[in-house]
Symmetry: C2
Subunit: 425 residues, 2 copies
């Protein structure tokens, strides 16, 4: 049996509050998941519940001052993992936080920051969840890991698995961007594109994991996805000089990233390292706005959006899996949820590129579009310490990028042709 | 006038050895470039020539031990730049060096390292040249920067320029991968795709810069491209515990990256920080192997390869611009040059992905394929401290990635269909 006495944590149901030993349950709360209805947000999502008093012994300002590690390993004392050796050799995290950028100047904001998560090895925030899940899989002796995904989670899982020689199976909508499909195949994953949407892929992967004994990385269903996604909060806090920002702006589909980042800041609060939670701001696409609708209606749980769609493929979901928890984090932090249109997303993508040299995928642009919209509506102060989480690289979705720009005509390779083209440029 | 007394350097012609003050010349050696023949390697390429004795006052082990900066700024004392404020706010460099990886184990090598340059902001090694060139452009008061490019140099220049609000014009073959074209447009560059190859784009951009007063970033033609490309050498040296590797394996087109990395190690040698140069190994595509041909023939200068072509688009060039200098660095370091086929490149791309979780573009895979080939031929020792420079992300060239994998058929989203597919997987 594993010895978790060195790791002071339990798994706690976000719905009923019941606490389990780490070895006692694998995914969701057995009690609450009995009430699960098909096609709705998950019931009984588990969070890792830390004993902060004991954790402060190993994780504190002295530890950080003397720690030379970067990325995931830096926060090993805050990971629900017995041994650092289970972590991928890839550098995951340690992504830059850019302040003083031209976007801030453009918006008249003097404390606007961008956390560039596209710099992760597989190019998205999902790497942060996958590194922890694969480490847990190895710790538990699982041979195969599996996930359903709109694309990024699958590339992340395939990437991390490859780096450690773990077998990986992924189930994705056949409509996933070609770049994401090619990427997961290059990593050697077994890829199963389905004639269906993400929600159907999610359901199928749950059945497959049960049937074949695979370890299920499905987002929110696997508690370590939320826990891995905490880590950007710790980095942001350090990069801001060990201070919390006022708000964090996050593109939201299932709601796991926002739940994870909020959990990270709650852990910092529990450890006495910050005094106040930042406001968590969820930005969704208008065509996939279950959490926004519930937020506006004062509901605890999002209603499914049948036929959800958007150019921001990685936040398209009918039933946000982590919707209940995400809504609670948004409300308890004094945050809000808002939606932006595909047009706003695409125009923001090119505006961000032009102003900052950051090329993000549509979902990341959605977070930026949300801030721009709120700022223009007078709901964001000049000096708000706002952090935009840029979750994925634009290189993964070139078709969308092409919609955001005008592709120029080819010219002959001579100066007359160039002068003519310049006249028209 | 600029005051370069604080910056102890001159520009030195790699052909005739004549030294110029930094303000005296802009691009190549005026004398030697008179002998320039069209369609051949550049004459009179200038290198930045440092006064090592003076440099050791500001750059030494004590400086590094107390320096908290990462990326380009960390090596500011070694940059030919008057003020750090000219550097892009983007984090360029600070890329991981992976040792102890599964590729090393696969090849039976215990000191194989991979430097993952795909983690740069625009996704390739070219960012390292562009950050310095744009900084110089701002220092000199140039309003527009311009480059010819197979794709990566243009995306790099567009990215860095956007981050600092500098106008950018790029001239690229219309055959450049769509991802690279979309990326440079997102950054707001003025993009001119030409019906011609890279060499024609190079010639046109030179004429255009002359005509319109643009600052020319063309690789090798602009001496700061080589100088910017030194910086990975400094990082590798630090990451290896302030030691030089035995060999560095570099995909080679124009020869500027290999010249730059070699120059970085020569600077470390001049500063007394290493005792011996690593062997510089150039790997080219068989369809674009001008430097390999010259190396094998004992020639000082590559003969143009008319109609050069390869799946590794970023190393396809008829006349390697920096061929003379690259050949000299390869020989003087005791290195060598070899070519690999497109088939070897594509199969190595997927092997690398499967073994390491690194998804690189074909040119980067060429460097790896070269090492694999030499190792299998018994020309690389078990304990050789070899560094593979992985110069660009695979996300920029999805069409090539798709050639390297088998795209699976879509299935219905049910367990029976999945079981059937698994039977065949």
């Amino acid at each position: 049996m594993s010895d978790y006495t060195s790791k002071p944590y339990k798994l706690k149901c976000a719905d009923c509050g019941r606490r389990y030993e780490p070895d006692e349950v694998r995914y969701v709360c057995p009690d609450c998941s009995e009430k699960q209805e098909s096609g709705r947000a998950l019931r009984g999502v588990l969070e890792v519940d830390y004993d902060y008093k004991r954790l402060t012994e190993s994780f504190n300002r002295d530890y950080l001052a003397s720690c030379a590690q970067v990325g995931t390993r830096r926060y090993f004392p805050l990971l629900p993992l017995l041994d650092e050796k289970y972590l991928s050799p890839l550098l995951i995290g340690d992504t830059p936080l850019y302040g003083g950028n031209r976007l801030g100047a453009h918006l008249g904001m003097n404390s606007l920051f961008m956390k560039d998560e596209s710099r992760n090895p597989a190019g998205s925030y999902k790497d942060r969840a996958s590194v922890l899940v694969v480490a847990k899989a190895i710790e538990m002796g699982a041979e195969t890991v599996c996930t359903a995904s709109t694309g990024n989670a699958a590339t992340a899982l395939a990437c991390v698995s490859a780096s450690q020689g773990v077998d990986c199976a992924v189930i994705v909508p056949e409509s996933a961007p070609p770049a994401k499909l090619a990427q997961m195949l290059i990593y050697g994953a077994r890829v199963f594109p389905v004639r269906g949407n993400y929600d159907q892929a999610f359901d199928l992967s749950a059945v497959a994991c049960e049937r074949f004994g695979w370890y299920n990385r499905n987002t929110a269903f696997n508690p370590y996805t939320i826990d891995g996604k905490r880590l950007a909060a710790f980095e942001i806090w350090e990069q801001l000089g060990q201070k919390a920002p006022d708000s964090v702006w996050i593109a939201t589909g299932d709601g796991v990233i926002i739940a994870g980042v909020a959990k990270g800041f709650r852990d910092l609060l529990g450890l006495g390292l910050i005094e106040k939670m930042p406001r968590m701001i969820a930005v969704q696409a208008t065509g996939s706005a279950g959490i926004v609708n519930a937020f506006n209606a004062g509901a605890e749980e999002p209603e499914p959006v049948l036929g959800a769609s958007s150019v921001a493929d990685s936040i398209v979901v009918e039933a946000p899996k982590c919707g209940i928890l995400a809504l609670r984090e948004i409300r308890e932090s004094g945050g809000r949820a808002l939606a932006v249109s595909d047009e706003e997303i695409l125009s923001t993508m090119s505006m961000l590129g032009r102003l900052t040299g950051l090329f993000v995928e549509p979902s990341s642009a959605a977070a930026v579009a949300g801030l721009v919209k709120e700022r223009r509506a007078g709901r964001v102060a000049d000096d708000e310490r706002a952090v935009l989480l840029l979750t994925g690289t634009g290189l993964k979705d070139i078709d969308s990028a092409r919609k955001a720009v005008n592709m120029p005509e080819s010219i002959d390779p001579d100066i007359q042709a160039l002068e003519k083209a310049l006249g028209g440029s």
